[in-house]
Structure formats: structure tokens, C-alpha cells
């Protein structure tokens, strides 16, 4: 198993919902809580990466961190709509932890690519599990945002974007 696959597996396992762990279909609230924890982790990880790089940090990462914060705020609204509050931020794991611990530009961008891959996958997989059309559409716009992040950090990392 490659390093990227190991990290993705670790991220998925740590953030898996209790319902999924028990083999049950997750509720709308379970799905939203999982996405919220991912956004909270991403925001923290990008914040740590920006601090580590200081003035060398790509401007795109500042924008992306702001977007993660906006996504978390939007998910807070959707959680309230299903009667749930904002969860406590989980411990960092997987690509988010890798990003938070990265100390140079190359490592930051490589971890960012892995993190955005994780987020795109998580949002895509969540869509069929959301019965409320409005919530599903909000989640779809956040999926679009992460796909754009993935493209931009992929280019910055020296790849083709996607």
C-alpha cells in the first residue's frame, strides 16, 4: 500500500462515524458531523502550515483556509437544521495531521493535495446519504470548492492540477 493510500485510510478510519462503524446507514446528522470534523481539522491544519511557512506561504493557502472556515460555518447552520450543535474539534489525523506537521513548502503542498483528495472523496460519498435537497445542494457547493482547492494546490505542487 502506498503512503498516500495509508494516509487516506488512516483519515477515513479516524473520522468514521459511529453509525458507519456499526455497519448502520449513517443519519443525516452523522454525515454532517463527519464533514464538520473534517472542515475543523482542515482549517487547523492549514493554519499550522501557514504559520510554519510564514512569509513563504503561497497566497492560495490563505484563501483556502478562509474557505474551510466558511464551510464550517455553513455546516453549523445545516447541523442546527437537523437539531445538532457544532462538535468539538477532533484530534488531527491522516493528511490533516501530515499538513499540520509539514515544515517546508514542498511538504505542505504535498500534504495539501492529499488532504483535498480526502475531502473531495468524503463530500462525494456523502451526497447520496443526504435526504434533504437543500442540505445536499449546500454540500455539493462545498464539494465544488474542494475540487477547486485540489486543482490549485496540485498545480502549486508541480502536478497537473487534477
Amino acid at each position: 500500500m502506498r503512503r498516500r493510500e495509508l494516509l487516506l485510510a488512516a483519515g477515513t478510519a479516524t473520522l468514521a462515524t459511529p453509525a458507519a462503524a456499526l455497519g448502520k446507514t449513517p443519519t443525516e446528522g452523522d454525515v454532517l458531523l463527519d464533514l464538520m470534523r473534517r472542515e475543523q481539522s482542515a482549517k487547523l491544519a492549514y493554519g499550522a502550515a501557514l504559520k510554519a511557512l510564514g512569509s513563504q506561504a503561497p497566497q492560495e493557502l490563505v484563501t483556502i483556509r478562509r474557505h474551510e472556515s466558511d464551510h464550517a460555518d455553513a455546516l453549523t447552520t445545516e447541523l442546527a437544521a437537523v437539531g445538532l450543535g457544532r462538535p468539538l474539534r477532533p484530534p488531527l489525523s491522516g493528511a490533516a495531521q501530515e499538513l499540520a506537521e509539514a515544515s517546508d513548502r514542498r511538504a505542505v503542498l504535498e500534504a495539501s493535495v492529499m488532504l483535498e483528495d480526502e475531502l473531495v472523496d468524503a463530500y462525494r460519498q456523502s451526497l447520496p446519504l443526504l435526504p434533504d435537497a437543500k442540505i445536499a445542494m449546500t454540500v455539493a457547493t462545498i464539494l465544488a470548492s474542494h475540487a477547486q482547492h485540489r486543482f490549485i494546490v496540485g498545480l502549486a505542487a508541480g502536478g497537473s492540477g487534477s
Binding site: 464551510h71 455553513a74 457547493t141 492540477g161
Partner: protein, 134 residues
């Protein structure tokens, strides 16, 4: 994000549809698929490089629509890709059956819009909620 006002408007629309004549069909899965192919073909005609592959996926899922037409070029491709993205987001709200496919289209069109924005030398990340219906 999609606002409460949009939700109320959608709810009112559903209610009005339910109160309409019995022989007036609600929007079907096929209608939604066909509409997505229509906007995707428009993006192909405008010159959006990724749109052709998305059109093929929609056709494989059974969508039918005529070829697109209209002006082409970077500006037109960027605008058409944005319209396609918004349409796919709306399709996710309208049809739960094909959300796997529409999720894939959302991700691809969003990346395509950023790609075109870079070529146009404009902000490739202008919103935290790309494709949000206005």
C-alpha cells in the same frame, strides 16, 4: 451556501406542483439528466476542455440533448462552465437517484472553472461555495 429562502421557495414550488393538474408531470429523472446534457453541450460548444468527457458520461447514463451552439473562446467557456456547475448543483437537489454521477460532474466542472480562470488571469478561487444557485 443555499439559503433558507431558497428552501422555502423550493417548498412552495413543490406545493404548487402538488396542487396542479394531475396530468402535469413533475420533473422526472430523465428531464434532469437531459437538462444536464444540454448545459454540458453548451460548455462543449463554448470550448470548455473538460466538458466533452462529462457529456459522454451523461450520455452513458441515458441523457439526450442536441449538440450545443453559440460563440466560443475562453470567456465564453468560463461562463458556460459556471452555468454547467450551477446546473449540476441544482440537479443534486432535484434528483437523489443520480447523485453519484452529479457529484462527479460538480467536482470536474469546478476544477474546470478554476483552470479557465487561471488562463484568463482572474481569481481561480473566488468563492467558498462555487456553483451556488443565485
Amino acid at each position: 451556501m443555499v439559503t433558507r429562502r431558497a428552501l422555502l421557495a423550493a417548498g412552495a414550488g413543490t406545493l404548487l406542483t402538488a396542487c396542479g393538474p394531475r396530468d402535469e408531470p413533475a420533473t422526472s429523472r430523465q428531464d434532469v439528466l437531459d437538462e444536464q446534457l444540454k448545459v454540458t453541450n453548451a460548455a462543449v460548444a463554448a470550448g470548455a476542455p473538460r466538458a466533452r468527457a462529462r457529456a459522454a458520461k451523461l450520455e452513458a447514463a441515458g441523457a439526450k440533448a442536441p449538440a450545443g451552439s453559440g460563440p466560443s473562446g475562453l470567456d465564453h467557456a468560463y461562463e458556460a462552465e459556471g452555468r454547467a456547475l450551477t446546473s449540476y448543483v441544482q440537479a443534486i437537489g432535484a434528483s437523489r437517484a443520480d447523485r453519484d454521477l452529479y457529484g462527479e460532474l460538480v467536482a470536474d466542472a469546478a476544477a474546470g472553472k478554476s483552470e479557465l480562470a487561471r488562463e484568463l488571469k482572474i481569481d481561480p478561487l473566488p468563492s467558498a461555495f462555487p456553483g451556488e444557485p443565485k
